[in-house]
Symmetry: C2
């Protein structure tokens, strides 16, 4: 799996991992807390986090005995940019999207 896009897309292909990313959108989380809502072992979640980490979609920082997981959207952005090249469905560039985001946030608060 040499190309970084391979890792990013195949990490995104799993619904558990996408759910984890969505959770991390809210806030950074410890491994145990990430695992809590899922009906699977902690070891399985630990593996999923490893895959997300190796794909660059999250980073993990050890603090004490707790490992904090943090969303890292750069790899997502690369994948997104790749998809943009199929621009038949959207003439949107990321800069425009960021301006959109900024205005959304400005409106909200």
């Amino acid at each position: 799996m040499s190309h970084p896009l391979d890792a990013a897309f195949s990490a995104l292909a799993d619904p558990t991992r996408r759910a984890i990313l969505t959770m991390l959108l809210e806030d950074d989380m410890a491994v145990t807390d990430v695992a809590e809502p899922f009906d699977m072992s902690l070891a399985a979640i630990s593996k999923h986090l490893g895959i997300l980490s190796r794909a660059g979609l999250i980073t993990q920082e050890q603090r004490g005995r707790v490992k904090w997981c943090k969303l890292e959207p750069d790899a997502l952005r690369d994948a997104s940019i790749w998809m943009q090249s199929f621009g038949q469905f959207e003439a949107v560039n990321l800069d425009a999207f960021e301006r959109f985001l900024a205005s959304e946030l400005a409106d909200d608060r």
Copy 2:
């Protein structure tokens, strides 16, 4: 693999399939012509095309003994919108993003 995003992302995870999509960006192609530049059997490419087709990323139309492959960017668009929601900062209202998309497209053409 119940969720449509599962199929889309895991189809995109393979470099051969991404290359095929890029080729189809140029023009519709017959299966044999798709297979030509790759160093693998026709049957393997046929399988890849089946996966892309089941993911909704392409459609295939039989005409005579030739099966034409056509890029179908709707599934790509769904996946792209999902990813955009992770934009660098905060959670984004998808409805708002769709309105944004619509207005962008309206402006362009």
